[in-house]
Point group: C2
Chain length 71, copies 2
DNA sequence: CATAAAAGTGCTTTAAAAAGCACTTTTATG
DNA sequence: CATAAAAGTGCTTTTTAAAGCACTTTTATG
């Protein structure tokens, strides 16, 4: 799996806001267990779960074309 | 649910590349049924599914702080 | 308007995400 | 180094994502 970037972004944002996993769980409506697993790199959250977390943290989940050298 | 933006991005990218759902299914390793459901706005794909699709389309899934007016 | 390709759907099985509980471990802080 | 808060884990149940199959509908194209 390779969405460490997502994990990192969320974790950093959460810590920057000084919010605990438990509070984020409450704010987002995502189960504490799910949140913990996700931040640990275990599991494979659904788009809905990612979306709820993003919302609670004032973030956004986007898809964009990857920049390469030869385009 | 509100990740229509993700759906739109993928669909547009796929069509721009002139790739069928079936081909994208093959390229990405995501089941055809899953792909179809996703593009229809049904379902709730996992991060892994999103990631596979993104890879096949030369795209990237990212989390970023939402820009607001007052920040 | 025939027809072929692409897209969409109903059904089913299997795998695993989500959730909560009770517990342990790690990490600050005095 | 006590201790309290936060983070992490094993186990379980329920829900649902993923997948394939067979089929229908929609959409180009001649």
């Amino acid at each position: 799996m390779h969405f460490e970037n997502l994990i990192k972004a969320i974790k950093e944002r959460r810590e920057m806001l000084q919010v605990t996993q438990e509070t984020l769980s409450d704010l987002s409506g995502v189960g504490l267990r799910t949140l913990k697993q996700f931040e640990r790199g275990k599991g494979n959250p659904t788009a809905q779960t990612l979306s709820k977390i993003a919302d609670a943290l004032g973030m956004e989940l986007t898809f964009h074309v990857k920049k390469t050298h030869n385009d």
